[in-house]
Amino acid sequence: MNPTPGKTNDSLSDSNSEDACQQQIQKKKKSSTQLPQPGTTQGSCAFDSAMMTLVPITDAAHVVHGPSGCAASIWGSYSSLSSGSMLYKIRFSSDIDENDIIFGGAKKLYKGILELQRRYKPAAVFVYSTCITALIGDDIEGVCKDATEKTGIPTIPVHCPGFIGNQNLGNRVAGEAMLSHVIGTAEPDTTTPYDINLIGEYNIAGAIWNVLPLLEKLGIRVLAKITGDAVYKEVCYAHRAKLNVILSSKALINMAKRMEKQYGIPYIEESMYGIEQINQCLRNIAVKLGNSSLQERTEKLIAEETAAIDEKLALYITQLQGKRVLLSIGSFKSWLIIFAAKKLGMEVIAISTNNNTEEDRIRVKTLLGQDGIILEQNSPQEILQIINANQADMLIADKHHQDTSLTARIPFLDVNQERNHAYAGYMGILEVARELYAAFYTPVWEQVSQPAPWETGNSPEENI
């Protein structure tokens, strides 16, 4: 069995003793949510998220070393967009069958890599192990080494069998693969003092495209996007950036820490979701790049963009102001809905997150004020009760609460729409506003919550 080689494990637990101590505490606190429990469905596995992190490298071939079911099932679930190569959209799999399990699948994998390199000419090949091939002990490290030597095209092993753990771990393993095999293997043609890397934003639905023009206006060059709409080469020379900006994915913070240690690149953790957040993000980048003229330009840009977006939001504000919403959110990004709702003058009366950690609770309390309610069970009964007690006007939740809002006869917005819509940057707020407005003013809700005439209990004669 060869799931995670020693070095990956070592680097996963940071050697810094203070950090290690912090991690220990976190582990204790979160143990219930981090270890997958039988009889539940808690998110996906390391394999899924390792691919989620690396697949947005658009000119690489991504090969699943395992049954083709693993490759088929993730197909289409990533809506990461590309401005260039479409190679990343092709699903390659070594299609392991019973024979391979008995005799080993490494040879087939090797032959498969050579074949796809001949036919598709990728900039690089990423090979992902799965539960089965890790369990039978296929040496993907060796296969990748041989394939690299034979073809001259970098072939990178990613040790991500699903059973090693949850999504966070998969992101980290992907980060490790980039650190040990990709970053630092090439040099950019030129460097500027304003080179930064964006980390942890995968260009889902094109989110990164809402942000890049802003940085460009400021004269900041994004050296590498790790990994939304990235080409392989740019990840190779990410080590020449002056600053790492981590957006949203906490799991890649270890990567930033290692890059700080190894290449002396400082990092900041920012968000591009929400107007205050993006303002803050741009300011912090300018400060970190340490240039007063850049800071001035940044303030000017913020003023312009904020004014422009305020103007565009004005219509929505008149329509949505004062409405009361109840939120049940599952993912980090959905915090954006709170920021957007507040910006639009809406009142958020209650909120639930999938796992109410202490940190989340504090954050919610600061955002909603002391009167804010935190849902405990997130059950339909609890949601209905709070809707009634607080005269909520809208429910924003995962799809499975749609029926709850019908019962309560109030409009509903599916927060998972984020997969299809870019919410980042200033333009992202506009997208949220548009969706809130559309959900609120659709005539559909009123119609479908009317009972049929024959269900009201009055016979036609009585009505006359």
């Binding site: 997958p36 469905t41 059973f163 019962t407």
Partner: protein, 436 residues
């Protein structure tokens, strides 16, 4: 007679086949009060769920034994036991549908023994049927997983007590993965119109029926009930719809001595004729006027529109059952089959009325489909259709870029007409483009 060719590449590109787990879970979703449980790492569950949620656009009940690294080394019996106990406590399922995955099959977990010993340790679970099906990802395909689950269901749940007499109007209908919820609904209506009482396994028409209730539940709210499943032994006949249902029909024949007939397709004039004649024979009721009228309509529609189909070339990439029925239907309209790709070896493939059929992936399909007038495959064919500039008609699983596919009906005279119109309109549209 078709020659079966298997492409000999070391790398599958754009796989057409889905894991068996997807099929097994889909079959389980047609039973009421069930909680499907996958014995594997949580990703197996999440990914299976993702495919089905994408396809059906609604929440799908599904749980995992969440195998960890340690459990993978030590064995998963405890995880299975813990999962079942947790589910019983939290979701109160009436049935549990337990599927294996590639991980635990490679490991060699003896799940039959697990279930036996868990039952031994927990007599309080005696009331709860646990249907076990082996669904390793490295073998078979969605259709196999679906068929395997149906076989397990009919092997384990129906019991015939000596007190029960055969019910002269009750028949069992086994509907393969080739049928949509809309198809199942139509089949039920047709069968009922003959005065027969159908028990459909699995009854996916309930999947559509997401009516609004006061409380939502973690388990399926519709589908074949446990009482219906238990009474299958008293049915007088089994209609196996789709060749992949033959195995399950044979099990019922062996166990309860119930005769069966396999209908490989329910689309097309002659196929529907044969089906209705069988229903008339079983029930002793003549074909209702409603369907006689529909038949006259279909005849008219076929005569009026056959010009658009003659000599058109269609390329298909579908699971065997769906491939068979679609090919038969298209051939009945005079369409030429330009290329056919499928997922797995299957008894009927050699009998397909075409030159060759390829067991392969969507890359093979893309190469073979060049020069055809229409593509038929799942939503993963969109990019291929764009590259080849050939229109795509979506069939199979997953379909995630169409709104109507759950209710889409291709069976019966009415469904045949619908299918004919859909495809005919695509041909018409292509012709119109050439003229303008």
């Amino acid at each position: 007679m078709a020659i079966i060719s298997v492409t000999s590449t070391s790398v599958a590109v754009n796989p057409l086949k889905q894991s068996q787990t997807v099929g097994a879970v889909l079959a389980f979703l047609g039973l009421k009060g069930i909680m499907p449980l996958l014995h594997g790492s949580q990703g197996c569950t999440a990914l299976t769920k993702a495919v089905l949620v994408q396809h059906f656009r609604q929440t799908i009940p599904l749980s995992s034994t969440a195998m960890t690294e340690v459990a993978t080394i030590l064995g998963g019996e405890e995880r299975v036991e813990q999962a079942i106990l947790t589910l019983v406590q939290r979701s109160k399922p009436e049935i549990i549908g337990l599927c294996s995955t590639g991980l635990v099959e490679t490991r060699g977990d003896d799940m039959g023994r697990f279930v036996k010993e868990i039952r031994h340790r927990h007599p309080e679970l005696d009331y709860l049927p646990i249907v076990l099906v082996s669904t390793p990802d490295f073998k078979g395909t969605l259709q196999d997983g679906f068929a395997g689950a149906v076989e397990s269901i009919v092997r384990e749940i129906p019991q015939k007590s000596s007190k029960q007499d055969a019910c002269p109007t009750q028949i069992t209908i086994l509907a393969s993965s080739a049928f949509t919820p809309g198809d199942v609904q139509e089949i039920k209506e047709i069968v009922t119109s003959f005065g027969l009482v159908p028990i459909v396994v699995p009854d996916l028409s309930g999947v559509l029926d997401s009516h609004i209730e006061d409380s939502s539940s973690a388990i399926t709210a519709n589908g074949t009930t446990l009482a219906q499943l238990r009474s299958i032994g008293t049915s007088v006949f089994t209609l196996a719809l789709g060749e992949s249902m033959r195995g399950a029909a044979q099990i019922l024949d062996r166990r309860f001595n119930i005769p069966y007939e396999v209908f490989s397709e329910l689309t097309g004039l002659l196929a529907v004729d044969k089906f209705l004649q069988a229903l008339a024979d079983i029930s002793g009721v003549s074909v209702p006027e409603k369907y006689r009228r529909q038949r006259r309509q279909l005849k008219h529609v076929m005569l009026e529109n056959h010009f658009y189909f003659g000599c058109k070339r269609v390329a298909l990439a579908l699971e065997p059952d769906l491939l068979w029925s679609t090919v038969s239907f298209l051939r009945s309209l005079g369409v030429e089959i330009h290329a056919a790709v499928t997922t797995t070896r299957f008894p009927l493939l050699e009998k397909l009325p075409i030159l060759s059929v390829t067991i392969g992936d969507l890359e093979d399909f893309e190469q073979l489909a060049v020069g055809s007038d229409l593509l038929i495959t799942n939503s993963h064919g969109v990019a291929i259709a764009q590259r080849l500039k050939i229109p795509l008609y979506r069939q199979g699983i997953p379909i995630f870029d169409r709104l109507d596919h759950n209710q889409f009906t291709k069976v019966g005279y009415r469904g045949t007409m619908q299918f004919l119109f859909d495809i005919g309109n695509l041909f018409l549209e292509a012709e119109a483009k050439i003229k303008h």
